[in-house]
């Protein structure tokens, strides 16, 4: 079974690579047909990833999201799903390609980590509980929303620069308008923030119950709370103080850099957080 899963993951990575290349061709050369094919392949990748996740679940008898690499796989699954939905409902050119560049990087790190067949070794079976599953899933869903929001904010900044510096051309006209980019990215943060909050509550509750001698000033706990504060300030400025524009987009970009730091770097310094 493990070999089948490993081959499936490799094949999915290859298909994902082709999809990103096709979307990239549309991004660079304005080729709608390539985008259409890319989207079809991407949908296929989502299906294959779902199958792989189910097989991993059947094989190991538990949800496979309990180390950084498994988390990455789940993260890329969330990103593909969100980007396809956003493509359907937001209809913003380039979003699909740019979001999936992030998703593909996640997938590649996972594929080269060679740890997907060693799942479960890091975390003692007794430590796993429903609280932990809910914590990880909700946190990654919030990260998915933040990733998409980051892409839209980056596009906002690029379009802002085009309009400010009077760079007329295909890109100016293909990228959506500032208003739509700003609203969509803001809405995604508003959706992602409650997920992050509930994930933090579940995570803390789990640590309290399952981790003896938990250090409450652990870098991961502090980092996650700071992350919540960063996005909390964004929502406060946007929805309460009615701020708009470039500075808000920059804040959102910084927020996502914080997500990446929290996901990749802070785990290494944590005494208990290994996923």
């Amino acid at each position: 079974m493990e070999t089948i899963i490993a081959r499936l993951v490799e094949f999915t990575s290859l298909a994902y690579c082709i999809a990103v290349i096709l979307l990239g061709m549309d991004f660079i050369q304005n080729k709608p047909k390539q985008k259409k094919y890319g989207l079809w392949i991407l949908t296929g990748v989502l299906v294959l990833q779902t199958v792989a996740l189910i097989l991993q679940f059947v094989n190991s008898g538990r949800v496979t999201i309990f180390n950084v690499y498994e988390g990455l796989y789940f993260f890329s699954w969330v990103i593909i799903g969100f980007s396809i939905m956003a493509n359907k409902f937001m209809k913003i050119d380039f979003q699909l390609f740019l979001t999936n560049v992030i998703g593909f990087i996640m997938m590649i790190i996972y594929s080269f980590s060679n740890t997907h067949h060693l799942i479960g070794n890091e975390l003692h079976e007794q430590m796993i509980s429903h609280l932990l599953v809910a914590h990880v899933i909700l946190a990654i869903l919030s990260y998915g929303a933040f990733a998409l929001s980051f892409v839209l904010s980056a596009m906002y900044l690029y379009q802002y620069k085009n309009l400010k510096q009077k760079k007329w051309g295909q890109n100016l006209f293909r990228i959506g308008d500032l208003d739509k980019l700003e609203k969509s990215s803001g809405n995604l943060v508003v959706v992602g923030l409650p997920f992050l909050f509930v994930a933090l509550v579940f995570g803390l509750q789990w640590a309290y119950v399952k981790v003896p001698d938990v250090i409450w000033y652990d870098v991961k706990i502090i980092g996650s709370i700071l992350l919540f504060i960063v996005y909390g300030i964004y929502v406060y400025l946007r929805n309460v103080r009615n701020f708009h524009g470039k500075n808000l987009a920059v804040w959102n970009v910084v927020g996502f850099i914080f997500v990446l730091l929290n996901f990749f770097v802070l785990n290494s310094f944590s005494s208990f957080h290994i996923w």
């Binding site: 009077k166 051309g169 959506g176 470039k246």
Partner: protein, 457 residues
């Protein structure tokens, strides 16, 4: 028969001639009907706009047909024929089809890629069907041209993005705000260009318009035009803080809106974008205002640059379409070739079927005692012999129709099999069938096309 195009446009005739040689839309069907009566003209349509008047026709002989078309036009507009000829362009065969496809796609228009001409060609096509001035060939060619033009507009960037200054301002505003509905527009000054830009914004959904002018009465008149409000010049800063779009076109000699004035206003806006268009010359807005966050300031030269960039894009798309047109001409020529060869193949099959039927009857007389099963077997085998015998000649005829020497080859083919009469019958039957399909009753003027290479039909 041949396809020809005769006409004049903004490139070949000055406006004084164009305004004379222009058909009122109601006259077009009448003129097409009269053109049909001209010697040697079998099918025709007429396209007439402010920038062009053109006749496309299927004629018996090019020189005669063209002569009578020119004579008809000169007579209609009461012009000296020799003087009139100087303004005309004349295309024959593939060139005429190429010209029609270029025109229908808007590649021959003053505003490259515009779509109005497609509607006008379509209207002429409908008139042609209604008043029976077109037959099999134009029915096919015009349908192909209209379908192709639609495809070209969808698949290329020929018709995307603005190519006029006032519309470029609207397009830019849309890049900032998306929809312009409910956006607050401030019109500062009552200059002509500014009014034009506001008209375009208003037409695009921006319906909250405020006008400020040094002379309040003028502001009131302009505001009324757009169901807007007029405010006094002293309120400029207050209104600017609330506005999304500012169009400035005063007659001031120096900057009226400076960075120092704008700084506190921008601060109050908390990053909300302000789209400013300075159409005045000399400019009203200090260019340093563009340095402020959230302010998008454009002057007349910027808008002109956008128009130029968009035009360049349209030119690139036009090159793409020109390549696509070549394929369309090849397709049309193939259809024309097949139009000639189909009756020949039909006639050959009919002759073979007749021989087959007569032979069977003769056998029936001579062998009356055969059982039903034996007849079935004989019938089947005879059909098989006929089909196998015809297979290669039919392939030859199809191949020959694609070649330059098709006319001679097919004539020889018809003579070898002695099917001249049957071919004529097939042509008439096919013609009736096609015309019936397109709901046009044809008359005896729509002759059967001969088989020749190119668009010579």
């Amino acid at each position: 028969m041949y396809i020809v195009a005769v006409g004049l446009n903004y490139k070949t005739a000055p406006v004084e001639i164009r305004e004379k040689v222009s058909f009122d839309p109601s006259q077009i069907p009448v003129a097409m009907g009269q053109l049909r009566e001209q010697k040697g003209v079998y099918e025709n349509i007429l396209v007439s706009t402010c920038n062009r008047t053109e006749v496309y026709a299927v004629v018996d002989l090019p020189d005669t047909g063209i002569y009578y078309i020119i004579k008809f036009l000169a007579g209609w507009f009461d012009l000296d024929i020799e003087e009139f000829k100087k303004c005309l362009y004349i295309y024959e065969g593939d060139e005429a089809v190429n010209h029609l496809l270029n025109v229908t796609c808007g590649l021959n228009s003053m505003v490259l890629g515009e779509t109005q001409i497609l509607g006008q060609v379509r209207t002429s096509f409908m008139h042609g069907q209604e008043y029976r001035t077109i037959g099999v060939i134009f029915n096919r060619l015009l349908k192909q041209a209209i379908t192709f033009a639609k495809k070209a507009h969808t698949e290329t960037a020929i018709n995307t993005n603005a190519v006029s200054i006032s519309y470029a301002a609207v397009e830019l505003a849309k890049k900032v705000f998306g929809a312009l509905i409910n956006k607050e527009v401030l019109v500062f000054g009552t200059g002509e260009m500014g009014q034009l830009a506001v008209e375009n914004l208003y037409g695009s959904g921006a319906d909250h318009i405020t006008v400020i002018n040094r002379t309040f009465e003028k502001a009131k008149i302009l505001a009324e035009k757009f169901n807007g409000k007029a405010r006094k010049i002293e309120e400029l800063s207050i209104v600017m803080a609330q506005s999304d779009i500012l169009i400035s076109s005063t007659g001031a000699k120096d900057y009226v809106i400076t960075k120092e004035i704008m700084e506190p206003i921008v601060k109050k806006r908390k990053g909300r974008p302000l789209f400013m268009v300075d159409i005045a010359v000399p400019r009203d807005i200090d260019p340093r205002v563009a340095e402020l966050d959230g302010v998008f300031l454009y002057d007349i030269d910027d808008l002109q640059d956008i128009v130029q960039a968009n035009l360049t894009e349209r030119e690139q798309a036009a090159e793409q379409i020109k390549i696509m047109i070549k394929d369309e001409i090849v397709n049309f020529n193939q259809w024309i070739s097949m139009l000639g060869v189909v009756p020949i193949i039909g006639a050959l099959k009919e002759k073979a079927q007749n021989i087959h039927d007569e032979t069977l009857k003769s056998m029936e007389r001579k062998l009356p005692n055969l059982s039903d099963r034996e007849w079935k077997v004989i019938n089947k085998h005879m059909k098989s012999i006929v089909n196998q015998m015809l297979k290669d000649p039919i392939l030859f005829a199809k191949d020959a129709s694609d070649k330059t020497s098709s006319k001679h080859s097919l004539n020889a083919f018809v003579k070898i099999f002695n099917i001249e009469d049957l071919v004529e019958e097939q042509k008439v039957a096919k013609l009736r069938e096609e015309v019936k399909f397109d709901s046009i009753e044809d008359d005896d003027r729509t002759a059967v096309p001969a088989v020749q290479k190119g668009v010579t039909v």
